[in-house]
C-alpha cells in the first residue's frame, strides 16, 4: 500500500537516501503518521536478488559513480577512484554491512573533554548527554535484533572465531565473545536465524542479518505514509528567499529531472554524498553551499582508524565458512593514553573470499611473497581493526570542478591524511593482532593496510555552537530550520565502535523530534 505523493505536495518530509539513517528515519516518521517521500539513487534489491559472489555482488550494489582522492592515505594510491565502499540501493549500505552493533562508551560522547587538546585534531564534545541515548540505543537494538542485548543469545562461533578466541585468551584478553550482532541467533521479527553462509557483505540471502531494505522500508510503506522512489538521484536542494528549503531536484532512472516540493528535507546520503549535495546546492544567497556558515560542511571527514591482520597456520581454518564478522575483542577499546595514543580500538574477526583477498591483502603486491600467502588461503584466519580516528579540518570532501558525473555535476574529492594518533593506534593494534595469532601458532602474519572506507563519518558534524559545526543536537542544521542531516555525517567524533547502531539510534531520536515539531507547528 505505497502512498503516492504529488510532486507539488509541499506538506511532505523528503528523505534523501534510504540507508541506516534515511531508511530508519523514513519508517519511524511514517509510523507516526508523517507523510514521507524517500528518494534513493539506487535500485531495489531483495534477498532473492543478492548474489553469493564477491565481485558480481559489488557490481550489483556498490556506489560506482566517479570520485577522486588525495592525501597520504594508501587508499588514494591503491584505489584512487574508489575512496569508499558504499552501497547505492534501497536500504543503502545496510545491505553490505557485517552487522556489528555496539554502543559508544560514555566518555566517547565527550572526546574533547576526555582526551584534552590533541595537536592537529579538531576535537569537540557531542552536544548530547550519554544518558539521553540509553533508551534510544535500546530501541535501536530491539529494532535490529542485536544479539547479546535484550535477552537475545549470541551467535555460535565459526572456525575463524575459534582461532581468534583461543589466541585472545592465550595473551590474556578477557572481553572476547561472538559479538553484538544485528544477525538473528534464533528466528526473530519474521526473519530466520543465521545459516552461516558466509556472504554477509554481499547481502544476506536469508534475511537473517538486519537491513533496512527488507525491514524498515517495507514496514514504512505498509503504513500508507511512505513513498520510496528508487533510481531517484537528488542533484540539488532548493530554497526560497527567506532561506528555508522548499524542495529537491532529482533525476529519475531515465535521466528526466523533477522537482519534489517539501516541508522538511532530511539528507542521508552517507558522509561523502551528503556534504557534496549541500555544496552542489550553493546559490547566490548561500554561495558556500547550504548550511555552511561555519565553513565546516565537508570537513572533519573520519573513516575510523582501520587495518587488518591475517595469519596463516599449519592447519586449515576455512575462514569463509560462517558469519563474516564473527567475534570481537574489546579489551583495547578503553581510553588509556599510556599506550601512546588517545581513544581505543576494537578487534573483530573478518573473512574475505579468495577474490577479495587477492585484491585487498596487499594491494599492488606481486611475486612469490604475495602468492605464497594466497597459496595458504585455506589455512588463513583474519581480523579487522576499528578504532577512533581524529577529526581534522583538512580531511574533507570538496567539489572537484575538473571531473563531472553523469549529470554534469562536479564529483566529490575525498582528501585524507592520517593523524599521528591514528598511526600510533594502528601500529599498536597491528602488534596486538599479530600477537593474538602468534599465540596459537601462526606461521606467518600479515599487517594488512586499510580498505576503501566502509565507515564514513563527520562531514556535517553536530555542535553546540553554530560556529563549530553544521547541525545541532537533533541533526537540524544551525542555518536552516527545515533542513536536517540524518546519517553518519552528523558524527562529532567517531568513537571506537562501528557506527551503525548509533546512526540508527540518532535517526529514531530525530524522528521523535521532527514529528514533535511538526505537530507543534514549529516546522
Amino acid at each position: 500500500m505505497t502512498a503516492p505523493f504529488d510532486l507539488s505536495d509541499d506538506s511532505v518530509v523528503v528523505v534523501i537516501g534510504t540507508g541506516a539513517g534515511g531508511g530508519v528515519l523514513a519508517n519511524e516518521l511514517a509510523q507516526k503518521g508523517v507523510s514521507v517521500v524517500a528518494l534513493e539513487a539506487g535500485g531495489r534489491y531483495l534477498p532473492e536478488d543478492y548474489i553469493n559472489d564477491e565481485w558480481e555482488s559489488f557490481g550489483q550494489l556498490a556506489w560506482l559513480d566517479a570520485r577522486t582522492t588525495s592525501g597520504d592515505w594508501r587508499v588514494a594510491n591503491d584505489f584512487s577512484g574508489l575512496p569508499a565502499w558504499i552501497v547505492k540501493a534501497v536500504g543503502g549500505t545496510t545491505t553490505h554491512w557485517a552487522g556489528a552493533s555496539l554502543r559508544f562508551q560514555d566518555h566517547e560522547w565527550k572526546a574533547a573533554s576526555t582526551y584534552g587538546p590533541v595537536q592537529g585534531a579538531n576535537l569537540l564534545d557531542w552536544p548530547i548527554d550519554p544518558r539521553e541515548m540509553d533508551d534510544y540505543y535500546t530501541r535501536a537494538e530491539d529494532k535490529l535484533g542485536v544479539t547479546r542485548t535484550g535477552g537475545r543469545a549470541g551467535l555460535p562461533g565459526c572456525n575463524n572465531y575459534k582461532v581468534f578466541e583461543a589466541g585472545a585468551k592465550a595473551i590474556g584478553y578477557k572481553e572476547v565473545h561472538t559479538g553484538r550482532m544485528a544477525i538473528n541467533s534464533a528466528d526473530n521479527d519474521d526473519r530466520p536465524a543465521c545459516q552461516q553462509t558466509g556472504f554477509c557483505f554481499q547481502g544476506c540471502k536469508w534475511g537473517a542479518k538486519w537491513s533496512a531494505a527488507y525491514t524498515d522500508i517495507p514496514r514504512g510503506e505498509a503504513t500508507g505514509n511512505l513513498e520510496v522512489r528508487d533510481r531517484a538521484h537528488v542533484l540539488k536542494i532548493e530554497h526560497d528567499a527567506s532561506g528555508k528549503v522548499t524542495g529537491v531536484l532529482y533525476a529519475d532512472a531515465d535521466g528526466n529531472q523533477h522537482l519534489q516540493r517539501a516541508r522538511v528535507v532530511c539528507v542521508a546520503g552517507n558522509s561523502i554524498e551528503s556534504p557534496r549535495l549541500l555544496l552542489n546546492s550553493a546559490s547566490s544567497m548561500f554561495p558556500d553551499g547550504l548550511a555552511n556558515s561555519s565553513g565546516q560542511v565537508g570537513r572533519n571527514y573520519m573513516r575510523h582508524m582501520t587495518g587488518s591482520v591475517y595469519a596463516v597456520f599449519d592447519q586449515p581454518v576455512k575462514m569463509w565458512r560462517g558469519t563474516t564478522m564473527a567475534g570481537i575483542i574489546q579489551d583495547e577499546a578503553r581510553h588509556d593514553p599510556s599506550r601512546g595514543f588517545v581513544g581505543g580500538y576494537e578487534l573483530e574477526t573478518l573473512a574475505l573470499g579468495l577474490p577479495f583477498m587477492a585484491a585487498f591483502l596487499d594491494p599492488g603486491a606481486w611475486g612469490r611473497e604475495f602468492t605464497t600467502a594466497l597459496d595458504a588461503y585455506e589455512n588463513m584466519a583474519g581480523m579487522w581493526i576499528v578504532g577512533e580516528d581524529m577529526p581534522q579540518e583538512t580531511n574533507r570532501i570538496t567539489l572537484n570542478m575538473d571531473v563531472k558525473d553523469q549529470y554534469g555535476l562536479p564529483v566529490p574529492n575525498v582528501h585524507f591524511d592520517d593523524h599521528p594518533n591514528d598511526i600510533a593506534m594502528r601500529n599498536h593494534a597491528y602488534k596486538q593482532g599479530m600477537a593474538v595469532y602468534d599465540a596459537v601458532g601462526a606461521t606467518r602474519v600479515f599487517p594488512t593496510p586499510p580498505y576503501p572506507s566502509t565507515h564514513n563519518l563527520g562531514t556535517n558534524r553536530m555542535s553546540e555552537n553554530p560556529r563549530d559545526g553544521v547541525v545541532n543536537a537533533h541533526g537540524q542544521t544551525h542555518d536552516i530550520t527545515n533542513l536536517f542531516i540524518s546519517d553518519g555525517s552528523q558524527f562529532t567524533t567517531g568513537a571506537a565502535e562501528n557506527p551503525t547502531l548509533t546512526i540508527v539510534a540518532l535517526a529514531i531520536r530525530q524522528a521523535d523530534h521532527i514529528a514533535g515539531e511538526l505537530s507543534k507547528g514549529t516546522l
Binding site: K205, F313, K318, R321, P355, A359, G367
Partner: protein, 172 residues
Amino acid sequence: MTLNPRELTRRDLLSRGAAAGTAFVVGSGYVAGTSTAWAMEVAHLKPATMATLIHMARDIYPHDHVADAFYAAAVKGYDSAEAAPMIEDGIAGLNAAAQGAGHSSYVDAGWERDRVDILRDMEKSTFFQTIRGGLVTGLYNQKEVWPLFGYEGESYSKGGYIDRGFDDINWV
C-alpha cells in the same frame, strides 16, 4: 573456461609449431601448452606474444599448483583489435629488456628469478600495471580456480555451513 582446446597430439603440435620457452608451443593462429592439456586460438596478437604474456602472467602471480590454462584464460581478453597494439608494444619492450640482460627473449630466461628481475625494473610502467591489475580479477575471479585454493564459493543453495562445518576445526 573461455579456452578452446583442440584435439592435437603433442607430436602434431611440435611438428606444426615452434617452441616458445619450454612450456609453450606457438603455431599460426594458436598457442598451446607443450603438454597438450590446452590450446588457445589467437586472432589479433602474434601467437608468440600471447605465449610470452601468459608466461609473464605466471611470473607476476606464480602459483605452482595452478595450470597454465588458467593464466591463459586470465589474459585471453587482450586478444582484441583494441588491446593488441598496447600488448605487442609491451611484450616487445619486455623482450628487449630480456635481451639487454643477456637472454635471447623473455621466455628463454630459464630462471624465474631472472624474469622477475626484468619485471621489477618495469613494475611502474603502465603496461606492467595494466597486466598486473587485470590479473587480480582475471586470475582469482575464475570460479574454476577457486577449488585449487580450497575456496568453496557460493553456499546459499547448499543451505550455508550451519550443518556443513562452519565450526569443524579442532586443532585450537
